[in-house]
């Protein structure tokens, strides 16, 4: 065995260990399933975004009447329900926690009556009457 042969063997072994990545790394083909999921999600998100941009209000009269409580609310259409609806994947059970709507049909409007304007008027009248009476008393005393 010549020294050249030994040198060639040593070089081959050394280079192979230094450049092992080139010989041993295996790059698998892209995961088709994962890609298709990503694509589907992207398409779905784009579809939702697009549909929000072109919202259509259907069955306008019933829709308005339902807001006034005069008729039963129509079942929301896909286009209608996109307005302000929670994400589709948000199930009813997820919403039904402490913020679940508890408004009952026929509830009274909140008590917004305020007596402050009346009290202000009464206060102003009392102040005015008191001032006039005190001034009258003083005037009478001065005359006397």
């Amino acid at each position: 065995m010549s020294y050249r042969y030994l040198l060639a063997l040593a070089l081959a072994a050394g280079i192979a260990s230094e450049a092992s990545a080139q010989f041993t790394t295996f790059i698998p083909p892209q995961n088709k399933a994962a890609d298709s999921v990503k694509t589907a999600v992207a398409v779905q998100q784009r579809a939702v975004a697009d549909s929000i941009q072109r919202v259509q209000l259907t069955n306008m009269k019933t829709w308005v009447d339902s807001a006034a409580g005069s008729v039963a609310a129509p079942a929301p259409t896909r286009a209608d329900s996109l307005m302000g609806s929670p994400p589709d994947s948000l199930t009813r059970s997820q919403v039904a926690t402490d913020t679940a709507p508890t408004l009952k049909n026929g509830a009274r409007a909140p008590e917004t009556a305020s007596d402050l304007p009346l009290l202000a008027l009464l206060g102003a009248m009392g102040l005015a009457i008191g001032t006039v009476m005190l001034a009258g008393t003083k005037l009478g005393r001065d005359r006397a």
């Binding site: 929000i52 919202v55 209000l57 829709w63 308005v64 339902s66 807001a67 006034a68 409580g69 609310a73 129509p74 079942a75 929301p76 329900s81 307005m83 302000g84 609806s85 929670p86 994400p87 994947s89 948000l90 997820q94 919403v95 926690t97 402490d98 913020t99 709507p101 508890t102 408004l103 009952k104 049909n105 026929g106 509830a107 009274r108 409007a109 909140p110 008590e111 917004t112 009556a113 305020s114 007596d115 402050l116 304007p117 009346l118 009290l119 202000a120 009464l122 206060g123 102003a124 009392g126 102040l127 005015a128 009457i129 008191g130 001032t131 006039v132 009476m133 005190l134 009258g136 008393t137």
Partner: protein, 203 residues
């Protein structure tokens, strides 16, 4: 004697005026505080909204009573108020109140906001069907159009659950009335779009 009666009128009138003025002053101070909290929370709400959109697990926690929960803008009457959670005396003194148990403006369902006629909603008699309302809440920024106005007796049924997105604004009626108003003005609005930019001040 006349002097004593005059003095009694003067003092009681002064006390009444002081009480009313104090209530209004406290309300203004609370409204300012609520606006500062609202403005300071702008970045936080953006993060929360983004996180909720990512996780799809939103709208879970109920806001605390007295907390600023939304901004209500009605350009026609120069109204720009921060909505407080709750409709009790203190909340309505500070600003329009969001009725607990109703959804936030922008979510599916009926969002009810009420206010006093002598303060925040004192120009509601100028509103008409077709006028625009803007809201900003954790449900997003929405543009609404008024679709109906009703006047009901204060003891009559006035609020209804809806399966679609609705905004109901209520106040006392008549607007110009001395004493406890006998009726309620119910203004109903429907969404016509989402806003992507911050609401401009109406003032």
């Amino acid at each position: 004697m006349r002097r004593l009666i005059g003095l009694a009128f003067f003092i009681s009138g002064g006390l009444l005026l002081s009480f009313v003025g104090g209530r209004y002053a406290v309300g203004i101070a609370q409204a300012d505080e609520a606006r500062q909290q609202w403005d300071a929370g702008e970045a936080h709400r953006a993060v929360v909204r983004a996180r909720e959109m990512m996780s799809h697990a939103s709208f879970i926690s109920a806001p605390a009573a007295g907390a600023p929960v939304a901004r209500l803008v009605i350009p026609k009457i120069d109204l720009d108020e921060i909505v407080i959670e709750g409709v009790d005396g203190d909340a309505l003194n500070a600003g329009p109140g969001h009725l607990p148990g109703t959804v936030m403006p922008g979510l599916r369902g009926n969002a009810v906001v009420s206010a006093h006629r002598d303060r925040h909603f004192n120009h509601f008699d100028l509103l008409n069907v077709g006028d625009t309302v803007l809201t900003d809440s954790r449900a997003g920024r929405m543009k609404w159009v008024i679709v109906s106005q009703r006047i009901v007796d204060k003891d009559r049924p006035a609020l209804f659950a809806t399966s679609d997105t609705t905004l109901t604004l209520t106040t006392c009626w008549p607007i110009r009335f001395l004493g406890s108003a006998p009726s309620r003005l119910i203004v109903t609005a429907k969404p016509i779009g989402r806003l992507t930019t911050r609401l401009a001040s109406a003032n």
